[in-house]
Symmetry: C2
């Protein structure tokens, strides 16, 4: 991922430099390149660059040079940062990568504007890609942007749904949301890399599917960490998700089991105030006892397997395919 | 404009129907089709549809059928509504077309999300346009989206600039902001209509220029109404702009004149609290006395003339060109 970040950086820097200086400053902060004062903050809180790496490996996997996929890598990275900026506003999340979120550091309005700037530039960069594939690439990215918005809409709407009864969120509905919100962009990264690398439609679709499954596995791991993760490693408070009353996969599985456990969970989660330490720990223990943790680990494994199978069933350049497989494992390694 | 709205409506309805139902509901509210409960509100507070009309007339002006420009009309209308939704969040404007703004009716987060949905779909619709012009159209729209963000960034940054001295906003800087924020999308509407109608690059550029000048004239009229408009006609409080401490063209012209008037204006505007009725009326009177109103009327006329000249200097289909000229006059008629 380090190698991919180095490869993409000049184009990413150029893309940010083309923004209005103020939105560019916020973008540099969000990307972890600068502090909230606009001063360089090298090695600050840069993301891992999973999406960039997927785009470059997508091109290499179809026998093209990684350079072909650089516009795709820049576009998916900008879309990722745009969605983080706006999601943090919508979810009122004050922290991002251990630092104040952009809306906390610069204000809500400016954070919305910086997100808009990144959204527009992401599409612009792909639209300006030389060669015959720009049109198909833009159409694919637009479909992904629709998916991201749908996923965020579904996630926000889950908040108003009851914990149990006929209106409750089902694990299947949660999976659809996660595919839109997390899977679509990972799939798009791989697919765009392959597309700009000149791959046939069938290969592009297979890589999109692999990335979507990777995203679902990633989200399952995230849900495990949000419920039982070590605060030292996650940078979030212990039992962060139940504290926020977030409807995640392990919780929904435990609730769908019904019985006494589900009743106690509903009682704990329906308390008008946020859970205290003891209450949050009790929720986590009940969900684990009801099999929510094991089911989520299975969900992660199942989607990782499906992602690998999608790679294996597609004729790909062997070295890049091995690297992709290793990247998939690495991304999921956070489970252990 | 009525005729154009009827022509575009089925495609616009279809575009909104493709959104996630929740963002679609907010879009229908923003478009004036429905109340905040999602129920149809026919003839509610629909916009005039200037941008849609410009797109269709852009195609007819280059001898094409208006139908060719429908994707352009839908795209610019969606971009317009997207920018209103986000601008109202950033500017904390609670009213839009006499009704609560989307963020007031649905919440800030949902309004941001609905704007994102419209932004993404606008580009998507243009990218899916059949025929050979989709790529060029998307690139042009992306440039316009960059301009819109720059214009909004400049406008927001003006708030922190001093009323006088070396850091004060100049009338020329204001004009650049207005071209980005208002002119770019009007120019884009005309240009995209012509582009999808198969016009050569030179004609597309000339129509873009005409639309940009129209936008600058429109903004000048808006500034006059914001300072001296009849609240019965504008739907805004009397002297709305000076009350909000907004740096508009007439005010900047008056301030740039210096002297005793500028000093009194700065004293009035630098008061820590918002102006009362008397103070706002005094600002409006001082600006008029200092020639700010006349200069802004000249600015509007100059840009309307430039817009007309750009039309006249381009070989266009005569009927459509006449209609465009009439539309320009109509849009500006609010001056009198």
């Amino acid at each position: 991922m380090e190698r991919c970040r180095e490869h993409v950086r000049p184009a990413l820097v150029e893309a940010v430099a083309r923004l209005h200086p103020w939105t560019g400053e916020m973008a540099a902060y969000a990307l972890g390149w600068a502090g909230p004062d606009g001063r360089p903050e090298p090695g600050g809180s840069e993301g891992k660059g999973v999406r960039q790496a997927l785009a470059l490996l997508g091109a290499e996997a179809v026998g093209a040079d990684a350079a072909e996929a650089v516009p795709a890598a820049v576009a998916v990275e900008l879309v990722h940062v745009f969605s983080l900026l706006h999601d943090d506003v919508m979810d009122a999340d004050a922290l991002r990568r251990g630092r104040p979120a952009v809306w906390k550091a610069y204000g809500t309005g400016p954070a919305v504007l910086a997100g808009d700037a990144l959204h527009a530039r992401a599409v612009g960069i792909l639209a300006e890609t030389p060669g015959p594939h720009a049109g198909a690439a833009v159409r694919r990215l637009c479909g992904t942007l629709d998916d991201l918005v749908s996923g965020q809409a579904e996630d926000l709407r889950f908040e108003d749904r009851p914990w149990h009864g006929p209106g409750a969120v089902t694990p299947a509905q949660y999976r659809t949301m996660a595919e839109h919100k997390t899977g679509a962009l990972l799939g798009c990264a791989l697919a765009l890399g392959a597309l700009l690398g000149g791959a046939p439609e069938r290969t592009v679709t297979a890589l999109d599917r692999a990335g979507r499954h990777l995203g679902l596995a990633f989200q399952a791991v995230d849900d495990i960490l949000g419920m039982w993760g070590d605060p030292q490693l996650t940078g979030k408070p212990v039992h962060a998700d139940p504290r926020r009353g977030k409807k995640t996969y392990p919780l929904l599985v435990a609730l769908s089991g019904g019985g006494e456990t589900a009743r106690e969970l509903v009682a704990l989660l329906s308390a008008p105030r946020s859970l205290d330490d003891e209450g949050a720990a009790r929720v986590a223990a009940l969900v684990a006892d009801a099999g929510g943790r094991a089911a989520t680990r299975d969900e992660a494994r199942r989607h990782l397997d499906a992602a690998r199978r999608a790679l294996r069933d597609t004729p790909l350049e062997p070295t890049a395919a091995r690297r992709l497989d290793a990247l998939f494992t690495h991304v999921l390694d956070r489970t252990r």
